[in-house]
């Protein structure tokens, strides 16, 4: 008997009767890791929720059953369902910030599950919690028990979340995008911890993710979902090497690849350079004292040549976003110089306006970088306010031309941002940044909020536009896969300092610094296999 068997599950939106999960069946055997992969709207999360009968009120089950150890969850009375939740089926969610209760200590939250579901003395519980916290890598257990969730980093919180779920040694763990909110290195640590904990407790895992290469690394079997349907399933290796369905091939093709290296003239004056850049945050004047400032950048020098794409990589807290913000003029530098075309950028000085026009930015979140009250036409035309002597029809032509270039055309002119998909919005943001033909573009995690296939399209578009217009770019990202595809040169940052920089091939093939190696070892190397599939290898990073 399978541990979990979902049979012909069909879910619909209660009000409109539109089907969001269509006739999905799957099995999970004891101790097995099964992954459901799909993009947003594929229904993968709804399937995971239906396992526990935890779907949202607005969603109705039209057909199907969810058999856990042979019993249909949907047919059980609520009291029985509650007994199974937590105790026999554990869940870990994407957002470690919100899945732990901010007003309870870690100790309290970990003990709660044991108190509810297991009969044992308080001493035994405390001992069990302490052992578990040590296992997930918490050094000072006594302190952690008394601490609140906000005192821990995102990665630590997700470890604690795992600890609290695995304390009860459930037979099945449902992990919904457990590492999506974390950066690459932390992501790998958390995944390995999850695999280790579930292996030793013989817990089966139903892993929900959009990240096919990551999933392929850990899962025994993979199910691919698209718009509510299961399109393909099979052993992880086969799905990668011999994908059968077109959509699976499309997902694989969306994985970033290294392109050919380009020659960049390094003898000309850099478009943008910073020298000895230091930025302190905080240090606000309180009533009686000045709070201690936090140094985000500790003396950074970079130079970006014309027509060069420079990627800045690093984990959260490395200072890469601050660097982008200073160069965009959004955060003042505490000390150091910003040079445009070899001349220092100073407000009011000649050349300031030229720098302002020529250095544009594309932000991470296309949902928040467009004013929700403006139509696309107005949004894209806005930078043209500062171009003197443009008539209305001329402006309209410029807008139409740039929208055409980013592949949107004029069909969207009268729409509002919320009527567009994430990828379309990011195209609008790119159009807005490029409409004045800037010489320099700052792209701060421009594709990390997008689905994988959309990400591939936007990256293609970006490469095309870069080739056509020849602008330089500072590409800020935590995703080394994407960086490997777009960058000419790579700068690796850690704790507000540059630890390594060099051409893309140097950094990716012969990393020098330990941190670079650690970043690289967190992502798999992909090798093209015959038959349209790929094979995954651990990256040889040298050193250890």
């Amino acid at each position: 008997m399978s541990l979990l068997e979902i049979r012909n599950l069909t879910l619909e939106v209660a009000r409109t009767h539109s089907v969001i999960v269509n006739d999905v069946s799957l099995r999970v055997e004891p101790g097995e890791i099964v992954a459901i992969v799909g993009e947003s709207g594929s229904g993968k999360t709804q399937v995971a929720r239906a396992v526990m009968d935890l779907t949202h009120k607005a969603i109705r089950r039209r057909a199907g059953e969810s058999l856990f150890k042979g019993r249909d969850i949907f047919a059980l009375p609520d009291r029985e369902k509650r007994k199974i939740r937590g105790s026999e089926i554990g869940m870990v969610f994407q957002e470690p910030m919100t899945s732990l209760n901010p007003s309870l200590t870690i100790g309290r939250q970990l003990l709660e599950g044991l108190e509810l579901h297991r009969k044992m003395s308080q001493e035994e519980r405390l001992a069990k919690v302490a052992t578990m916290l040590r296992r997930v890598g918490i050094q000072d257990v006594a302190h952690a028990m008394r601490a609140y969730p906000h005192e821990f980093s995102g990665g630590m919180r997700q470890r604690i979340m795992l600890a609290s779920v695995m304390l009860l040694e459930p037979a099945l763990l449902i992990a919904d995008e457990p590492t999506t909110a974390l950066d690459a290195v932390v992501q790998r640590d958390v995944m390995e911890l999850m695999v280790e904990l579930t292996r030793s407790a013989n817990t089966a895992v139903l892993l929900i993710s959009h990240d096919l290469p990551m999933v392929a690394h850990y899962a025994d079997r993979i199910l691919v979902m698209r718009s509510g349907e299961l399109v393909e399933q099979g052993p992880a290796r086969d799905i990668l090497a011999r994908p059968q369905h077109d959509y699976t091939r499309k997902l694989l093709a969306a994985i970033p690849w290294r392109g050919p290296a380009r020659a960049v003239d390094r003898t000309t004056t850099p478009v943008i350079a910073v020298e000895g850049l230091v930025v302190d945050y905080g240090g606000q004047q309180r009533l009686f004292r000045r709070s201690q400032p936090k140094r985000a950048l500790k003396g950074v020098d970079i130079a970006v040549q014309p027509n060069e794409v420079v990627a800045v990589v690093g984990g959260s807290g490395s200072g890469k976003t601050t660097l982008g913000n200073v160069i965009a003029g959004l955060v003042p530098a505490t000390s150091g110089r910003l040079l445009y075309d070899g001349k220092p950028v100073i407000r009011g000085a000649p050349g300031y306006a030229e720098w302002r026009t020529n250095s544009q930015m594309v932000f991470q979140d296309p949902y928040s970088s467009l004013d929700p009250r403006m139509k696309i036409a107005a949004l894209v035309a806005e930078p043209l306010r500062h171009e003197p002597g443009l008539s209305r029809p001329q402006k309209r032509d410029r807008v139409a031309a740039i929208l055409d270039e980013v592949g949107l055309g004029t069909a969207f002119l009268d729409r509002f941002p919320h009527e567009l998909s994430g990828g379309q919005r990011q195209r609008v943001a790119i159009a807005r940044a490029l409409i004045r033909n800037p010489r320099f573009l700052i792209a701060d995690e421009p594709v990390s909020a997008l689905d994988v296939t959309v990400r591939a399209q936007v990256l293609d578009l970006f490469a095309q536009l870069q080739k056509r217009h020849g602008f330089s770019c500072l590409f800020i990202s935590h995703d080394l896969g994407v960086v490997e595809q777009v960058a000419d040169r790579v700068i690796v940052m850690q704790h507000g300092e540059i630890v390594e920089q060099g051409s893309r091939d140097e950094v990716f093939d012969r990393p020098q610094h330990a941190y670079t190696r650690k970043l690289l070892s967190a992502i798999p190397a992909l090798v093209l296999a015959s038959g349209g599939g790929i094979e995954m290898r651990t990256r040889d990073v040298g050193g250890h």
Binding site: Q360, M361, S369, D371, P372
Partner: protein
């Protein structure tokens, strides 16, 4: 074509009626609202006096009609004043942060610590108890809460990426504030303004209780309500009808305000 919500329709009809009545009273009323008629004191509603008469024999319908224009114009101007001042202060304070913000907000919070009514009373003693005194006093008394709400909205907006994007486009700070920040503050502002409209109508009645309202014999809904209190047992219509007018106006303004807020928000368009 968008669907017109029934709520908006009800609100529209109520407020339309109100303005209709306020306009009508300038050239026609059933009786003279100021004429004393001791023969007809405290009469119950009848065919002659539709809603009865007050303790001086004045027709309630006519007084309500005349009061409508006074009460509503007081409320509109008060809200207008508070919104204008409060929004300016809130925008400047929330957008600039730093020292300016701290000074303005310390002062603002000190004002907020006073009950609005007390503040208005103090201001009234300076400006004098007449229609314009009431507008200025209540308007200033409500300004701090508007400033607070707007400042909060601005502070969360200024961290949004489209505000930062506007700066990278070489837009001036003033332009960014007017084009991107202010329109996105509209939703809380409309909600607040509609509730303030109600507070004003009620405060004006409270001021009348204290003898600081619009001086008699001019009728307002507030002072009619206040004047009806001693007769609540013998002639309840004296208080009931002005109260009903205030309630219906509040209902109308709130429904209309909600509809307006949804209509001005592109994301709500097309939603049911």
């Amino acid at each position: 074509m968008r669907r017109f919500a029934p709520n908006a329709l009800i609100g529209g009809v109520l407020i339309g009626l109100l303005f209709g009545v306020a306009a009508l009273q300038t050239f026609w009323m059933p009786h003279d609202p100021l004429k004393l008629n001791f023969a007809a004191r405290l009469q119950a509603p009848s065919a002659e006096f539709l809603l009865g008469t007050d303790e001086f024999g004045r027709d309630i319908v006519s007084r309500l009609m005349m009061g409508a224009s006074t009460s509503v114009s007081i409320a509109l101007m008060t809200v207008g004043l508070a919104v204008l001042l409060g929004t300016t202060i809130g925008l400047v304070s929330g957008y600039n942060r730093g020292l300016v913000d701290r000074i303005i907000m310390t002062f603002n919070d000190a004002l907020l610590a006073f009950p609005g009514m007390l503040l208005a009373l103090g201001l009234l003693s300076v400006f004098g108890a007449n229609q314009y005194g009431i507008i200025v006093a209540l308007g200033l008394a409500y300004t701090p809460s508007v400033a607070r709400v707007i400042r909060g909205a601005v502070m969360s907006l200024r961290e949004r990426e489209f505000i930062r994007a506007s700066r990278t486009m070489s837009n001036s700070e003033i332009y960014t504030m007017m084009r991107h920040v202010l329109p996105n503050c509209l939703a809380p502002l409309i909600v607040l303004a509609t509730s303030m409209f109600g507070w004003t109508l009620l405060s004006e009645s409270a001021l009348s209780f204290l003898g600081l309202g619009v001086p008699p014999p001019a009728p307002t809904w507030g002072n009619m309500l206040a004047a009806g209190r001693p007769f609540i047992e013998q002639a309840s219509w004296l208080a009931i009808f002005p109260g009903l007018c205030i309630s219906l106006t509040l209902l109308g303004i709130n429904l209309l305000g909600d509809a307006l807020r949804d209509r001005l928000d592109p994301q709500m368009r097309g939603a049911v």
